[in-house]
Symmetry: C2
Subunit: 85 residues, 2 copies
């Protein structure tokens, strides 16, 4: 949940990327890991699970992997909760 929240407004929660301006493809794993306080391997696993689940979109640029929100499923999930909770 925190990760999704942070990724809503990357510029508020992460240092700017030099390579890729304006967080076009989201935030790199390193930054998300630092912010979360979890180990690199753990955050990598989390993100990859979230990606498989369809919550985030992965874009690779060179050595870096960027993640951004996949709004479609997130919306769907909230709608589901709204009708089933």
């Amino acid at each position: 949940m925190n990760i999704l929240f942070w990724l809503k407004e990357p510029e508020k929660h992460f240092p700017p990327h030099q390579e890729l301006k304006h967080f076009r493809d989201g935030v790199c794993v390193q930054y998300i890991g630092e912010k979360s306080g979890l180990s690199q391997s753990t955050i990598s696993q989390y993100l990859s699970m979230m990606q498989k689940a369809g919550l985030v979109i992965l874009t690779r640029h060179g050595k870096w992997t960027y993640y951004k929100r996949d709004e479609k499923l997130i919306k769907k999930y909230i709608a589901h909760l709204k009708s089933h909770l």
Copy 2:
């Protein structure tokens, strides 16, 4: 989640109570337990946790304990998810 969903429309998911008409105060622990397939003690614990969390309202009538949804917190929770997810 299932419990909250069932309690949305008790008449659709539970047999009618004789004592208390129209599910005024919700559904008794026994029925919820049967529906869930969990043991009596487990369901009792769940419901009591949910009550402490503010998701359901407990009403005792004689030997029976009835639970119904507490819409206030449920709404609040969905709103929270909507803005933080």
